[in-house]
Symmetry: C2
């Protein structure tokens, strides 16, 4: 491609409103432009990268035996009614009406469409397993789109759906996809971790892993062990129950005045105690019933864990008015001692390990001291109810927990029968009995993978594309196109390199050398070949974008050099 | 691909509601399934064909120097306000609001998005010409979606947009795309014509051609010459002005009673005359002004021609009440003789050639006879105002007009500055003066191209794919997988054929031979290789889907045979 006629405008300055490096560089290098908030156009350079990633995904999916299809983005709302997700999704789901006033949604995912697509076709165990995938636009009306294509409202996703006749089959399909995802992200040059995760609005209770590209700008936090393979999203990272019950203390529980000491910090300062000797009480409403959850003062309640444990259709934090109504006192002073009898009390494992605790007295401006959980509180059960912390022992018993930030680039789900039951997609088993199809679903955020790659592969001058996803193989520059020998060598190399099978961007513009080098660094094509002052001697300058020094190479030896280094 | 695990369900019966062959066969062969009215999912077999066509389009676009990009399907309504098209499009344009109540549309085409995308970037003649294209979903909320993917509401389109600094540049870009389109449709195996056409809602007055796949189910009618290259959509086909003014007749104009003779047919029967001696009068309202259009009784007024000629912002047929108000009599009896002075009268060329005409008298139940246009009517001018007819002389003076039906698979437009002016997309010319970009736009209906191919390539048993767009190269069948020698030969050929670079669908199912042959005919893969009873003798049966006889071929000679025939 001749750069003179290549539409890929660069910017010298950091664009306004672009807060993270990948967003800035994708705009500056002319990969994308914003069309509306959270809605982007891909220019030729960005689209080439998108296609490279799509093709890697497509190859790995095909190798894994998945079959490519294409479903519509506009979906009838009625199948979302059948699955019930039309209510779960809320305003993130974009909705529209057609000219006949019928309701449609823009697909956020395609579980409903695919399930209704196969429900009359995959009707026998003989036709299973099948895995179908597509690479297609998805829509999520984010409340606050940001970070460029990392959190956008229209984006390219690969979504696959597996259909099995048994749990063992699902297990096989799931790990098959898991391995394909590892290959995809490895080929994309990403440093990533597969972590245990929460199923969120996709649902299904069979288990799920997120594929996280490690990056400080990631919106998710990963807890991992410094001594094992363990890695999980902190939303779901399990806690090891290593908290022994201490001996009953000799002291007795007693009330004390704690005026205005509403927070853990207030208590630590006011009473000169450690947060580890405080029991924090948080009131939830689970299907209209109050549940008091206790965690240690230095810990945070994990609402997802509470909700999963209670298995209620709705679990939410109690509002202030509800707290006062149920507990009879203001938030900040509630506690488990002598709590109303209708309040179920659940405690995190760590609470068991506190011998003499401070906790709210259910009376304004008062707390109890010397509370011994086993003696003074009626606890229904000790459970895993909190977020994991750095320094915690890893739940697999090996090593200590560390945190890292990650960008979610993929997720795999064991859906089970959630959608096949709701949409009545049955198959006949070997006994001729109708059973719901056992499903898995598997997503890759193709557009956000680009951003993740840029976050991991750049320097202060621009992007440094890993070879497999680079928009071109070689960036050929003629430093001064008005110099005949340089222009002639440039033209001849442009021809030769393409004949040798390289995809070449050829900077044939009438620009200054400085501009050309700056643009080349910004674009980040792996190999730069410059025809400059030594063109007459048939010498070019070759520089690898990734940390290489510029090296003079004789044209006669260029192909060998590129074979070795490019 | 092993057919056992291939998701491509066939149907034996003609599906309900599928009125045309391509729709029936695409459903029966498992290429597509309907997700909602006019909204389809592509199953693996259909998607493979879609990709083949996409890749042909992509190659031809790249060869023509166009650069691939990707724009969003969800577009901010405000740029459609800027261009004014939000009003032109009406209910065909799908609209939605985001969570902040901002207006968006689902892109029917992308002139607005691309113009706003380049408007700050293509700011100098030095950066021109540029041609950008994408292959992407488009949305049109058809009032009556039908014929499967031929008239659907979500469909795949290739749209390209050229930007030039001069009219000559646009001319070059236009014919460059025109030639690329010829290559695309030739490679797709289509019998097609490029015809002059109307620009419709896309707009621009520089000229446009439609690419029409000839087919009896086409919704457009093409007028072509039986003796030259002339071809045009009947909407715009020009008429040669070959109508001489006859000598003034000796008879005088006279009123006659024509009770209840409101139509041309009534007059022909009632007065025993030919339609060619009747002048038909049709009243239009052009920007609030009445215009009476006259055509010969056997001709039909072409409203597009009337609108183009008048160049008014709104031209429409007068309603009955308006007719009575303006002409003072009922529809059916209006005429140009002694018409009110404020009514402009335009006549089609052919009217000039009538010596003694019958026409309405502007009085109920009365007509004039012996009307000589030149003598008795005040005609502003004679123009080309009617639809062309079979049998008319071709407008290029060569041959006679014939009609054919066509499916529109592509269209190219010289847009000129319609969108660049509206969206203020200027470039600086060589004199440093700001000028609006000169645009062209170029569309290919990728999904409907599939349907057009099927319409042209099928027989009573199923589809007959042209080689370039066939989903697989070879359909390999093991007739009885329980026969060890057949199964062994099938497996070995499946391996060998793939190693030789063929894309093979291998029917390894436990089905009867009849089912396998029927499915193979339906799928329409160009070459069928069957391992049957002579497997033990290393003999297979090869049949070309297109009209071939089944031939026995020794396995040792199979590769040579396929090289010659496949």
């Amino acid at each position: 491609m001749r750069q003179q006629s290549f539409f890929s405008p660069t910017m010298r300055d950091v664009p306004q409103g672009a807060d993270i490096t990948s967003h800035q560089l994708m705009l500056r290098a002319g990969l994308i432009r914003q069309t509306a908030s959270g809605i982007y156009s891909y220019l030729p350079l960005g689209y080439k990268v998108l296609r490279k990633i799509e093709n890697i995904v497509r190859e790995e999916m095909n190798n894994a035996g998945a079959q490519e299809i294409l479903m519509p983005a506009v979906q009838p709302a009625e199948i979302w009614e059948e699955s019930g997700r039309i209510h779960d999704y809320g305003p993130e789901l974009m909705r529209l009406k057609d000219r006949h006033n019928r309701d449609f949604v823009l697909g956020a995912t395609h579980e409903e469409v695919i399930t209704s697509l196969v429900r009359d076709e995959l009707n026998s165990y003989k036709k299973l397993p099948v895995n179908l995938y597509q690479i297609q636009n998805k829509y999520r009306d984010e409340r606050r789109p940001r970070f460029g294509v990392l959190r956008s409202r229209e984006f390219v996703m690969k979504d696959a759906y597996s259909f099995d006749s048994s749990e063992e089959g699902l297990e096989e399909s799931y790990w098959n996809m898991f391995r394909a995802y590892q290959s995809v992200f490895k080929r994309c040059g990403l440093d990533f971790r597969a972590v245990e995760a929460d199923a969120g609005a996709i649902g299904g209770k069979g288990g799920t892993h997120e594929f996280m590209a490690l990056s400080d700008v990631g919106e998710d936090t990963i807890a991992y062990s410094d001594a094992s393979d363990f890695a999980a999203n902190i939303e779901v990272a399990k806690i090891a129950d290593g908290y022994e019950k201490p001996a009953r203390p000799e002291t007795s529980m007693a009330p004390i005045d704690t005026p205005s000491m509403k927070t853990i910090d207030d208590l630590m300062k006011g009473l000169s105690i450690e947060s580890t000797s405080i029991i924090k009480s948080v009131l939830f409403i689970a299907d209209e019933e109050p549940v008091l959850v206790l965690v240690r003062g230095d810990h945070e309640v994990n609402e997802i864990k509470v909700a999963n444990l209670l298995d209620s259709s709705e679990v939410r934090l109690a509002e202030d008015a509800e707290v006062e109504q149920v507990m009879g006192c203001r938030t900040g002073f509630i506690g488990p001692v002598r709590a109303p009898e209708n309040v179920k009390i659940l405690a995190d494992y760590a609470v068991r390990g506190i011998a003499e605790a401070v906790t709210g007295a259910n009376e304004s401006d008062k707390h109890f001291i010397n509370v011994h959980p086993d003696r003074d509180i009626t606890i229904s059960s000790y459970e895993d109810l909190r977020f994991i912390k750095e320094g915690d022992p890893a739940p697999d018993g090996k090593g200590t927990i560390r945190f890292a930030k990650g960008i979610e680039v993929g997720q795999v789900f064991k859906l089970g029968t959630k959608y096949s039951k709701a949409l009545k997609a049955d198959f006949l088993d070997e006994q001729g009995k109708a059973q719901p199809l056992i499903m898995g679903c598997y997503g890759i955020g193709v557009s956000r993978t680009i951003a993740a790659i840029v976050e991991q592969h750049h320097d202060e001058s621009g992007i440094i594309w890993p070879k497999n996803v680079a928009p071109f193989d070689i960036h050929l520059l003629t430093m001064n196109v008005k110099q005949e020998d340089q222009a002639a060598l440039g033209e001849s190399l442009y021809k030769k390199l393409r004949e040798a099978g390289f995809d070449v961007l050829y900077d044939d513009r009438k620009e200054r050398a400085g501009v050309k080098f700056k643009d080349a660094d910004l674009y980040g094509i792996p190999v730069r070949v410059a025809c400059g002052k030594k063109a007459a001697e048939d010498i070019v300058e070759v520089k690898l974008r990734e940390g290489g020094e510029a090296v003079e190479v004789a044209v006669s030896g260029l192909m060998d050099y590129l074979k070795q280094h490019a």
